[in-house]
Subunit: 197 residues, 2 copies
DNA sequence: ACCTGAACACCGTTCAAGT
DNA sequence: ACCTGAACACCGTTCAAGT
């Protein structure tokens, strides 16, 4: 796991292969198949290892506050290792730590009034938001100014507006989260009004 | 492009290589490099080709209605070709048709009252929602009942609830969209209240 | 203008064989 | 229990050479 994270940070997911991991450990690629059934299995283990770095926030009475600090910590974890989003996306979250995180978040959503039927949808909605936000964030941050200039040159002035790159990612991340929570609350109160009638 | 889509539908993105595309066209892989600078360039062209299938809804006075039918059509387009999400995710949307779609949607968001500074964030938020929803949807649909049963066996009854698979994807897709729109509207009216004071 | 053969430097995975 | 050599069937990409 440590070797894999080291490779990720040095060369990214493109550089993470059975052979490069083995090399880092001074063994041969074939040996890894004694420990893992294949690459997906290895990805699952790396994802689990990364999620151990995730600092679970202290329990809170307000589920919304709890979730906001959870997702902030989740993003911080994702930003701390290069291409971690790709690793998480390509593995099934059925390992202990990842289940623990899903459990804690799901309970908070239920506490917020999310219905059982929509729990998976809501949980995925938020999880996918963070993953894709960070993926975009990293894509933007890794685009050199020359490349950005080159891309802008190809667009008409009007379109430049629609593909502009945000500079304050922390703020924009929070904005997106607030949209999601505001939406959840709005739909819940609409639901309540309907049943009261 | 037709050959690529054919391969995608038959063997998925794993089966889409320079060699398999070339074989389908009765040429050699090296020849493709006369037409495209590399695999990413080719992905961009396939993505553009897929987006030509996207049926842009008729203009509407209500930007929300317009956007909802846009995203429904977007999802339909994504569902019609296997692994299309991966192709779109791994290419830059700077081609004519894709820019046209982004332009139309961005204008509708502005009409809805989305501020210039958050336009990229909002546009990405919705786009990423659809992409990741469809990606999850396909993952679920392609998991055989045996596999699902196997996964469920590994979880305690409580956790099974948190990883349950929705059955009515159309409904759940619309629910997520409604959360996003309700959130956007709620934040806008909060903003208005603040400036009125 | 468009295609090819051959090569380079990689992949993931398997499996008999070793200690 | 853990590792290896060797092989299999693939990749993306380059480039001199062909028509």
């Amino acid at each position: 796991m440590e070797a894999s994270v080291k490779i990720l940070n040095c060369k990214g997911i493109e550089g993470l292969s059975m052979r490069t991991i083995a090399k880092e450990l001074n063994i041969k690629a074939a040996s890894l198949y004694w420990h893992f059934s294949g690459k997906l299995d290895l990805y699952g283990a790396i994802a689990e290892y990364l999620c151990l770095r995730y600092e679970m926030p202290a329990e809170s009475d307000d589920p919304k506050d709890y979730l906001i600090s959870s997702y902030k910590a989740y993003r911080a974890m994702l930003l701390s290792t290069r291409d971690s989003v790709s690793v998480l996306e390509n593995s099934i979250p059925n390992t202990p730590r990842r289940m623990e995180i899903i459990r804690a978040m799901s309970k908070a959503f239920l506490k917020m009034g999310v219905k059982q039927e929509t729990l998976t949808t809501v949980s995925n909605l938020f999880n996918n938001y963070v993953l894709s936000f960070v993926a975009d964030e990293c894509r933007f941050k890794n685009t050199t100014p020359d490349k950005i200039h080159e891309l802008e040159q190809m667009l008409c002035p009007e379109d430049r507006l629609f593909l502009s790159i945000p500079s304050n990612f922390d703020e924009q991340f929070l904005y997106g989260l607030q949209v999601l929570f505001a939406g959840l609350e709005a739909l819940r109160s609409r639901e309540q009004n309907r049943t009261e009638q």
